[in-house]
């Protein structure tokens, strides 16, 4: 979508709907048992924006892979990397705590594709694909080791996306976790990145499209897409650890411009219903934006 296509709306026009949505999300939050929920929304069709608790910081879990994807494509844009540049697949990383080596557990990746390549090489674009679509932690740490966290943070600053994203380290750095050195995000922070991608403004329309294509390949669809119509296409990234469950994506529906939705949530470790809650919020927003129940 281009800047020209973006609708210009009177802010007061969407205020009643925004208020109703806020109340509905409050109700869902209370019923869910979550410790906290944050929602950020931007609809390119109606111009409606929603910011519910959206400046609250959450442990990023795997949603941090979206800023890392941006950092990888920044390196491609600079010419430091090519999509087909090869990266040595090695399961050994250094913790930000005293540089102590650690490994990524193979059982935590959804498939074994990257782990099976240990000792060999994989292309940057393959690793980026696995990092997003199956949330491969090994692929994530390999890419971050090549480009460096500082480079990602510099990219975020250059794109004025640093507010709401705090990248400190790779994933599965348990020593850092124990010392509460974590990657953190806000719903607004992730929203801004996804808006930029959806608008084709991250580096170039072509590179933005390539990142969106990767996000469209997401294989974990229990959150935002779960209760949307079959025709919906969602480019998104989930994130889940024992205490948080997130989903952040761009929702494409037939005959309307897309909307960007970020749902972050924090939970006690023994509370269930996380994906269901995210799916319910997504469904509620879908109905509010399209002003029709899904079965119409």
């Amino acid at each position: 979508m281009t800047e020209k296509e973006a609708p210009v709306k009177d802010a007061t026009e969407s205020a009643p709907r925004e208020g109703a949505l806020q109340k509905e999300i409050e109700r869902i939050e209370k019923e869910s048992g979550a410790k906290s929920i944050a929602v950020a929304l931007k609809d390119f069709e109606t111009g409606l924006e929603l910011h519910y608790n959206s400046d609250r910081w959450f442990h990023a879990a795997s949603t941090i892979k979206v800023p890392i994807l941006l950092g990888v494509f920044a390196a491609i844009d600079r010419g430091d990397l090519l999509p087909h540049s090869r990266v040595h697949v090695r399961n050994r990383f250094l913790s930000v705590v005293e540089g102590i080596p650690f490994r990524v557990e193979s059982g935590r990746d959804a498939n074994s594709a990257v782990h099976n390549a240990i000792g060999k090489m994989m292309r940057v674009d393959e690793l980026a694909y696995h990092m997003i679509t199956t949330s491969s932690n090994l692929a994530t740490n390999l890419l971050l080791a090549v480009i460096g966290p500082d480079s990602v943070n510099k990219t975020l600053a250059e794109l004025k996306l640093e507010d709401g994203i705090d990248l400190k380290r790779g994933v599965e750095d348990e020593l850092a976790f124990d010392k509460r050195i974590n990657n953190m995000v806000t719903a607004d922070g992730l929203l801004k990145i996804l808006v930029m991608l959806a608008e084709g403004k991250a580096f170039s329309p072509a590179l933005s499209r390539r990142m969106m294509d990767i996000l469209h390949g997401q294989e974990f669809n229990q959150g935002i897409p779960a209760r949307l119509p079959k025709a919906a296409r969602v480019a998104h990234k989930t994130g889940e650890i024992s205490t948080v469950a997130h989903d952040a994506g761009v929702v494409y529906l037939p005959k309307r411009k897309p909307y960007v939705l970020v749902v972050l949530s924090e939970w006690d470790p023994d509370v269930s219903g996380r994906s269901r809650t995210i799916a319910t919020i997504s469904h509620t927003i879908y109905e509010a934006l399209t002003q029709r129940p899904m079965d119409e």
Binding site: L81, S85, R86, V87, H88, V89, R90, N91, R92, I100, P101, R103, I118, G119, K120, M121, V124, V146
Partner: protein
């Protein structure tokens, strides 16, 4: 410049290469190791014209040249494309690995970045025999991944018993140790083919 049958690679004097290659390869220069001792880098290289040739050239019965020159994005850009240059001592390493393969009785896999890598490779902080073409990082032998103490120490012992003078990195996590591969090397060996002007 060599008279071995079936060995088509040309020997080149690194000092005659274009400037970007000389900058990355640093032929004949001194480079300090981790203990501060100066080591002289290789000056003579085999020129590998293409990936196709790397896939065909046998350095030993069970080792083809390509296995020794797999490098990733951390290698200096001129050295990631062909023609590539590999120190002449690589043939000595291949013969040693062939002997090692006989001893273990199965496939020996050299890891990416684990054969020859230049002094400009981002992994190369101090002089390492990898930049002499005389070191190999082995991540798998047959079906055994060398990612634990038992496997690394078992195959390290076989290497030391089989190859007189070989050095293997001890198991462990500190600098100078290895915990996810077997590193073996012949030291800082310089190979000067007999018909070059040194």
């Amino acid at each position: 410049m060599n008279n071995s049958p079936n060995f088509p690679l040309r020997v080149v004097d690194g000092l005659t290469l274009p400037a970007d290659y000389r900058k990355a390869l640093r032929p004949g220069e001194e480079w300090k190791d981790a203990n501060g001792f100066p080591r002289q880098l290789p000056r003579y290289f085999y020129e590998v014209p293409s990936w196709d040739s790397a896939m065909k050239v046998e350095l030993a019965t069970h080792f083809l040249l390509w296995e020794f020159i797999q490098v990733d994005v951390r290698e200096a850009p001129p050295l990631r494309t062909f023609p590539r240059y590999v120190p002449c001592a690589i043939t000595l390493l291949a013969v040693c690995l062939e002997r090692f393969r006989e001893a273990v009785g199965t496939l020996v896999h050299i890891s990416a970045n684990g054969g020859y890598r230049s002094p400009s490779h981002r992994f190369s902080k101090n002089a390492t025999p990898h930049a002499w073409g005389t070191a190999a990082n082995i991540y798998r032998i047959g079906d055994t991944y060398l990612d634990n103490r038992s496997a690394i120490e078992r195959f390290s012992l076989i290497a030391r018993e089989t190859l007189p003078g070989i050095w293997t990195r001890p198991y462990g996590t500190p600098t100078g140790y290895a915990e996810d591969h077997l590193h073996l090397d012949l030291g800082y060996v310089l190979s000067v083919p007999r018909d070059v002007k040194s």
